[in-house]
């Protein structure tokens, strides 16, 4: 009997311990990662520092703008390369303009327009080797004040990010590092006042923003010049900037496009063709300060650059990490009646990005398939003339018998004056990361 009491006592003791003591133990988690700390400058410091510097290697080419004998090539987030293209067979990298946060460029006369995070800069490039900031429009792109939730403030810009190896504690009690409902909860990224902890997975896919250089006058630009106006698009807005006085742009208004996912803008004959992830929108700018929506061609959600000629618009749709769908094709749209664009035909492609048209020749950058050249004289029966194998291509500009192609490994120039014998003229090799 005494033994039974002892056993019962021991069992009770265990049960009490099981209920009471777990609160005494604590789990602990540590994360070893890379933290990026922004290096800030004031906007005033950045403006003062805008000048022609020694040329730098091209490593992440962005948008291209042709002007006279020069190619202005955006280095994503860093500035603009000035390349003397007097001889397309031997382009010369002449100078580099440091413009933090720069992604888009356009040129009118001797003035280069470039974004610098929230601001628009007007830079005199009459002497490309001694450029000079003429003026700026402050806070025209307010959404650029934030980078992944990091707020730079209205008067600061991030000039670079410094990587630091860091160990931080994880709050396991909050659920991180714990398996629940079939999921293991890994820590996510978060932002503090002065640091950016970047640890969010992009599911292995590299950001489009990293590897998608764009082209001026072509299909992937977000700046478009028409007469005395500069039009810029952002996620859902269209800015109208009067550049009658080129060196002193005046921000007239911002038009809410009532759609999101705006990606590109292409000007053609007093119309703006705006490409978005949801479709193509046509805006009439007969009154340049008051764009009016005229027509829409909607499609599935993809990334879509667009170009146009008198009768047809050409829209490439490609599946991308930001775009959500899996369509890779060229859509031809009849725009003879701009109020009601009509789909003409779809052509399957591999992973089309930028495109350009010169006469009946249609050039399409088809991702891994390189550059494809088509005869588009009959839009219902577009025929492939050539396929140029090269590294993945992103954008192309055709000008004066020369196609400038940006690809993953460099900037190429092809002579297509004889379409049956397209030949490589030159290549600017990218600096390896």
């Amino acid at each position: 009997m005494k033994k039974m009491h002892l056993h019962a006592l021991a069992a009770c003791l265990l049960i009490v311990c099981a209920i009471v003591l777990p609160g005494c133990v604590k789990d602990r988690g540590m994360k070893r990662t890379t933290v990026f700390v922004p290096v800030l400058k004031t906007t005033a410091e950045v403006r003062d520092a805008i000048k022609s510097d020694v040329p730098e290697d091209v490593s992440q080419p962005g948008k291209i703008y042709l002007y006279g004998k020069y190619i202005f090539l955006n280095e994503l987030g860093k500035g603009v390369h000035i390349i003397d293209n007097s001889n397309p067979a031997a382009p010369v990298n002449k100078a580099f303009i440091h413009i933090p946060g720069n992604e888009d460029i356009a040129v009118k006369g001797n003035i280069l327009y470039a974004d610098c995070f929230t601001d628009l800069m007007a830079i005199d490039i009459s002497n490309p080797e001694a450029v000079k900031l003429q003026s700026f429009v402050h806070n025209i792109f307010p959404e650029r004040q934030y980078i992944f939730g990091y707020d730079m403030g209205a008067n600061n810009v991030v000039t670079k990010w410094e990587a630091r190896d860091t160990v931080m504690e994880i709050e396991v009690a909050d659920g991180q590092g714990i398996w629940r409902n079939g999921n293991f909860y890994s820590p996510y990224y978060y932002v503090t006042d002065n640091m950016m902890y970047l640890a969010s997975s992009f599911n292995g896919a590299k950001s489009d923003a990293v590897t998608m250089p764009n082209g001026k006058g072509g299909s992937m630009a977000r700046f478009a010049l028409m007469n005395n106006y500069l039009y810029t698009v952002s996620w859902s807005k269209l800015n109208v900037v009067n550049v009658t006085n080129s060196s002193a742009p005046e921000w007239n208004k911002t038009v809410d496009l009532a759609n999101w996912g705006i990606e590109t803008i292409f000007p053609f004959k007093e119309k703006l063709f705006i490409g978005s992830q949801m479709g193509m929108y046509i805006y009439d700018v007969s009154n340049p300060e008051a764009p009016v929506k005229q027509g829409t061609f909607e499609h599935v959600r993809t990334c879509d650059p667009v170009i146009a000629d008198d009768d047809y618009a050409y829209v490439t749709l490609h599946a991308g990490t930001r775009c959500g769908e899996n369509f890779n094709q060229l859509d031809v749209v009849d725009i003879k009646n701009l109020d009601a664009p009509q789909h003409v035909k779809t052509y399957p492609l591999t992973n089309p990005h930028g495109l350009s048209k010169d006469g009946n020749l249609l050039f399409i950058c088809d991702g891994e398939d390189g550059l494809k050249v088509f005869n588009a004289s009959n839009v219902t029966s577009i025929q492939q003339l050539a396929k140029i194998d090269m590294a993945p291509t992103y954008d192309v500009i055709c000008y004066n018998g020369i196609a400038i192609v940006s690809a993953k490994d460099g900037l190429y120039q092809y002579d297509y004056s004889n379409s049956s014998n397209i030949r490589l003229l030159s290549k600017i090799v990218l600096k390896q990361q």
Partner: protein, 198 residues
């Protein structure tokens, strides 16, 4: 597959149990225990189970054990077990200690490779799981059911470490770069078990 083998391994000597006669208490004899219990941690309290196969000599026991440890990230600890019994051959309190390695048992929550959602093709490395140390110490009470078999209950402190590396592409403000980041977790739990010995 290795995990399943680990789970099966300790059962093999049990087949020999029936062949064994009673041993004298001061001789080396076969010992095994089968236990179910709970792991009571800060986060939650899952069930656990373990099997130990070993030998008994006088007041001492030593053996190899394997457990199923679902706490936080599921794992299978394999460990060396030692115990000291206050009395020999009758009801007795005892103390024990375990030390070994915790093998993580992934159910896909931390995929090894990135998978293209469109093609289903596997790409670059994503997660690499690492084994961690495992340890436990506690006290128990053994109630003899007959000269050989006993009912046991024990309580103790259990620790396991779980580590993994994750490869991610991140945007550093200017460009996408691939980095490896390491996670390390120390799980501290109290453990309570009931079981029997053969």
């Amino acid at each position: 597959m290795k995990i399943y083998l680990l789970l099966l391994l300790p059962w093999l000597p049990a087949f020999a149990t029936a062949q064994q006669d009673k041993k004298l208490a001061n001789k080396i004899s076969y010992a095994s225990s089968y236990e179910l219990g709970i792991l009571a941690g800060k986060a939650y309290t899952p069930f656990t189970a373990r099997i130990i196969q070993g030998v008994r000599y006088q007041n001492y026991e030593a053996g190899i054990g394997v457990a199923l440890d679902p706490y936080a990230f599921r794992s299978v600890p394999v460990f060396i077990h030692v115990a000291y019994h206050l009395y020999n051959g009758r009801n007795t309190p005892y103390a024990y200690g375990d030390a070994g390695i915790s093998f993580p048992w992934n159910n896909g929550a931390l995929p090894e490779k990135y998978t293209d959602p469109r093609s289903g093709q596997q790409g670059e490395d994503w997660h690499i799981l690492h084994n961690g140390v495992y340890g436990e110490a506690g006290i128990g009470y053994k109630i003899m059911l007959n000269k050989r078999n006993a009912f046991i209950m024990n309580a103790g402190y259990s620790y396991k470490k779980f580590k993994y590396d994750e490869f991610v592409n991140i945007w550093n403000g200017n460009e996408s770069i691939r980095i490896k980041q390491g996670y390390s977790f120390d799980y501290n739990r109290l453990v309570f078990r009931l079981g029997f010995t053969l």
